[in-house]
Symmetry: C2
């Protein structure tokens, strides 16, 4: 299970590169396969479409049971909203396949690096996708994150079918956070068309995110310094 | 600002390796400098002791102002409890030094990969160190994380002066989470003596963590599968 990071080959770990070089076959969602293909031209690739995660994992396990050394790639980190958990669930207690999880840069980390340092203190990571999670659970987590004054990274802030989700999320956060709370958005991290924006929470409410955007909400101490979004590590003056 | 990941050279990103190869001088806490030194033997290294973070950043800025290309290394990710925020704070709006943050594998990601997939769903990252944060703030965040049924990664769970902090944290989590909540601890991630343990929250309360341990607390759906700590990505049956 190999996390390939945000997309740029250079943001893969050395261990991930080694794993892809060493394996027999690479399985993944076609968008991620396209991102790595040119760097591993001699490999056998298998792709499945979006939302066919279970099929993709079953395919990887099938190939492994045939004795192949399979690298299943995920964007970001294979364990953060990735397929690592699903592979363990599908394997159950049979344990006939040896699984190794190779970590990667999740969007919270790679996106934060583009904005400055928004996650230098305690933070929460929340996905706004309600495909596999009841919206009430997401709402509750947003509310608790705001009550705890966590900095927050929001994954999957929007899609064609969920246009107003980011707005709904901001409205929940605004119950506890000030409208001027420093926020940021990073689009296409490590890919063509990378774009970064810093704005107050009141403005984030009307921001048009897409499915390649990661959104950051600061805590009550987050500041804008020379255009960067910065959450101080502590409350001691420097 | 270069995150070097958990410690093993192979878990650095290609971009971090490139940055350390390209720079003139490497600045860091001596433990982290010792971890990378052998791979970059021709570099000039500067170290400062623990807790001298402000001095370390000032030294890096001083060297940069002399025209040197400085890589400041942090363990994990430079932006997660790392020095990236402090560098921006010290620079202020002067902006006379160009800063680039190179992300790295933070312990939440590298530790999770060792345990299985404990962070596949929404999670919170909380440091138990009260050196720079009032304990009341930490308590409040623990309580909110538990109320939101977040999986949690706990950084700095213990030290010589804070022996009972993990116990105090568990007691707060236990106000909302069940004693059988699946938890895990990873010691010396990516370094000599790496060790992994999975246990219920009631047992974590009496676990002896040290300052090189990262602790993971599952959400209400986290399970043990074949010895691994796994948080399902969604609530749909597979």
């Amino acid at each position: 299970m190999v996390g390939i990071g945000p997309g740029d080959y250079r943001e893969m770990t050395v261990r991930a590169v080694d794993a892809l070089n060493a394996c027999d076959v690479i399985v993944g969602y076609h968008v991620y396969v396209d991102l790595v293909k040119e760097h591993f031209p001699d490999k056998e690739f298998h792709t499945t479409p979006m939302r066919r995660e279970v099929d993709r994992c079953k395919l990887a396990l099938e190939l492994a049971r045939e004795g192949r050394d399979v690298a299943m790639i995920c964007s970001g980190d294979a364990g953060i909203y990735g397929m690592a958990g699903l592979i363990y669930e599908l394997l159950g207690d049979e344990g006939d396949i040896e699984v190794e999880v190779v970590g990667g840069l999740t969007a919270a980390c790679s996106g934060a690096a583009r904005l400055g340092a928004p996650l230098t203190h305690d933070f929460a990571v929340i996905s706004l996708s309600d495909l596999l999670t009841p919206w009430e659970t997401i709402e509750r987590r947003l509310e608790c994150a705001a009550m705890g004054d966590f900095a927050v990274a929001l994954y999957n802030p929007s899609s064609v079918k969920r246009r107003d989700y980011l707005q709904r999320a901001c409205d929940i956060l605004l119950r506890h956070a000030k409208p001027e709370t420093v926020c940021g958005a990073v689009r296409n991290i490590g890919r063509e068309g990378e774009a970064v924006e810093v704005m107050p929470l009141a403005e984030l409410r009307d921001y048009e995110a897409d499915m390649f955007t990661t959104v950051f909400v600061g805590n009550s101490h987050t500041r804008v310094i020379d255009g960067h979004m910065v959450t101080p590590r502590g409350y001691r003056d420097v």
